[in-house]
């Protein structure tokens, strides 16, 4: 292994800039992509004015949910000021949460809880209204449940008592766990689908996976270069078998790649606030094993480096589309996609087992064939 490391380092030394570029490409690319995407998202939020007459927990909770939806930018104003801003078209629309909102909800009165103002330019008025209605429903359901428990608690004099907040938090947690909240809201006029924020964190690794696929492919080009070179005849006379020679090089590339995967892991945790879970390291590990093996197999099919580059870009684009890393796909398709798409398991946060095994078998076959043709 030392000999392989030594000889590879000699070759790597000559192309440090290119190699470094492609190694950090997924890290920098992902960071730039995510930062830009969230800036654009930030900019495209609809500014709405909220007049908060009711200072209850339920009303505050409602506003928090609205902000968390990433659809709207909420500005709290007095009614007079809100209308002034609306006239200047600084706000898309204005919603007034009336005094007694919480009480009305809890006592099942549904009329005139919120009133709204719009202008002829309030293009987002209906979707925002719909969103608020559905949020109110969600919140009120939860609030009512909490209220009911509290009441029972009082009536039956239970020694353990919960606060309203505790119950509210708990029920939220339950909802989240059961994925009840994963409904998407869409603007009828823009076709934009905004997912629930809790799902967005996956996209960092999804985008990274796509960038990494491309960089892995481009860094595997040495296989084609060396295959067409006269030096390969010399490998007949080296001390190790061809099987060993290539296996060790793949291993070396794997270690180099994984080192940069670990760097990505740390960078994303610090810079993009990704989860720092050790379990996920194994997900990355299997994903990387699969990538190294499969891409090594793939590159064998090419004689011309330019057609390989073209293919790499095509493949990356195709997988980016079917992976749903950039465009989300429907969950029911996920299991099927794991069979078709080698990236899918990773995107679902699972260990890449199936495709790693396929890669391992294919590499073994290819190397055995090389060995045989060399014997």
């Amino acid at each position: 292994m030392n000999d392989i490391l030594y000889t590879r380092l000699l070759l790597w030394k000559k192309k440090v800039p290119t190699m470094l570029f492609w190694l950090v490409f997924p890290i920098v690319g992902t960071c730039l992509f995510i930062t830009t995407a969230s800036t654009i998202e930030e900019d495209s939020r609809v500014p709405i004015g909220i007049v908060l007459e009711d200072k209850s927990e339920l009303a505050t909770e409602l506003i928090n949910s609205m902000e968390a939806s990433r659809l709207v930018e909420v500005y709290l104003y007095s009614e007079q000021q809100a209308l002034y801003e609306l006239e200047k078209y600084e706000l898309d629309s204005v919603f007034v949460i009336h005094e007694g909102f919480e009480n009305a909800i809890l006592s099942n009165k549904r009329n005139k809880l919120i009133s709204s103002y719009q202008t002829e330019l309030s293009f987002a008025y209906s979707p925002v209204k719909e969103m608020i209605v559905s949020l109110v429903q969600e919140e009120s359901g939860r609030a009512k449940a909490a209220h009911f428990i509290l009441q029972m608690n009082e009536e039956y004099g239970n020694s353990e008592s919960f606060t309203w907040n505790e119950i509210n938090e708990k029920s939220k947690q339950v909802q989240l766990d059961e994925n009840l909240l994963n409904t998407s809201f869409s603007y009828s006029n823009t076709n934009d689908i905004v997912e629930n924020p809790s799902l967005l964190s996956w996209n960092t690794w999804g985008i990274w996976a796509i960038f990494t696929l491309l960089s892995t492919l481009f860094l595997m080009d040495w296989v084609i270069r060396e295959k067409s070179m006269a030096v390969t005849t010399r490998f007949t006379f080296i001390k190790m078998t061809r099987f060993n020679y290539y296996l060790k090089i793949i291993l070396l590339y794997f270690m180099l790649f994984f080192l940069f995967d670990l760097i990505s892991f740390v960078v994303f945790a610090i810079y993009l606030n990704e989860d720092f879970s050790t379990g996920f390291l194994f997900v990355i590990l299997t994903f990387r094993i699969m990538l190294c093996l499969l891409m090594f197999c793939l590159v064998q099919c090419f004689k011309k480096i330019s057609s390989f580059y073209g293919f790499s870009i095509m493949l990356t684009l195709i997988l980016a589309v079917i992976s749903g890393a950039i465009i989300p796909i429907f969950p029911p398709l996920n299991n099927l996609m794991e069979l078709i798409n080698p990236l899918q398991a990773f995107l679902n946060g699972k260990l890449t087992v199936l495709w790693s095994i396929i890669g391992l078998i294919t590499v073994a076959l290819i190397l055995l064939r090389k060995e045989k043709s060399n014997a």
């Binding site: 000699l10 030096v231 390969t232 005849t233 010399r234 006379f237 001390k239």
Partner: protein, 223 residues
């Protein structure tokens, strides 16, 4: 001793090498001549274990190519017709690269010495900046790293200036006579062949070459 027994090789229907037999003793230098496409490179590649003959058997120092391929290989040095070195590496790096992968360990001084014997002084020069002749010298030097018993060179002196040619020639001669190596090489330079070789193998039963070489009084094996 290299012993070749009735080997045949064909890529298409027409055989390139047909029922070829000869043997070479240690310390002998054999020249391979024949017109372009006669099959000189093909024969060398077979002797270098890179290709396999369709028929026949070969053995080196009583080790059969068939049954002891790996072992035989360790004692063979092959200088390909194309220059087989890393263009982007320096002379030094090339030597160290292949030393690391060779079965014979050599230190930096020994590797440098090898290049100097070949009159290749630009130790730290990148190969892509070397002249064609210098690349050829490096091509040979790399092959000598593992002290092969059988040295096969495919047109090693193409494009090398007369002075270097003589130097390489005398180096090869020394290697054969002092180290008892078998050297087989192809060349289109009949003067060089005449000067250096103990025997000449003429592939393709070519009367043209036979006539030219007959004046030298060398043993000509025409096959």
């Amino acid at each position: 001793m290299l012993d070749v027994q009735s080997i045949t090789k064909s890529y298409t229907k027409n055989p390139i090498l047909h029922n070829l037999s000869f043997s070479v003793m240690p310390g002998e230098i054999i020249g391979l001549v024949g017109e372009n496409g006669a099959g000189k490179s093909t024969l060398l590649r077979i002797l270098a274990t890179i290709d396999k003959p369709d028929n026949g058997s070969i053995s080196l120092n009583n080790l059969s190519y068939e049954s002891n391929r790996k072992k035989v290989r360790k004692t063979i040095g092959y200088v390909p017709q194309d220059i087989a070195v890393w263009e982007e590496l320096t002379v030094k790096e090339n030597m160290h690269f292949f030393e690391r992968l060779s079965s014979e360990a050599k230190n930096d001084d020994q590797l440098k010495e090898l290049c100097l014997e070949m009159n290749l002084e630009k130790w730290n020069e990148s190969v892509k900046n070397l002249s064609g002749g210098m690349k050829r010298k490096l091509n040979i030097a790399i092959t000598l790293i593992h002290n092969p018993k059988l040295l096969l060179l495919d047109e090693p002196t193409v494009g090398i200036d007369l002075k270097s040619k003589k130097e390489i020639g005398s180096y090869l001669w020394k290697q054969a006579k002092e180290q008892k190596r078998i050297i087989m090489y192809t060349s289109h330079d009949m003067d060089e062949i005449n000067e250096l070789c103990d025997k000449v193998i003429c592939i393709g039963k070519d009367s043209f070459y036979e006539e030219i070489l007959s004046t030298s009084g060398k043993e000509i094996i025409s096959i």
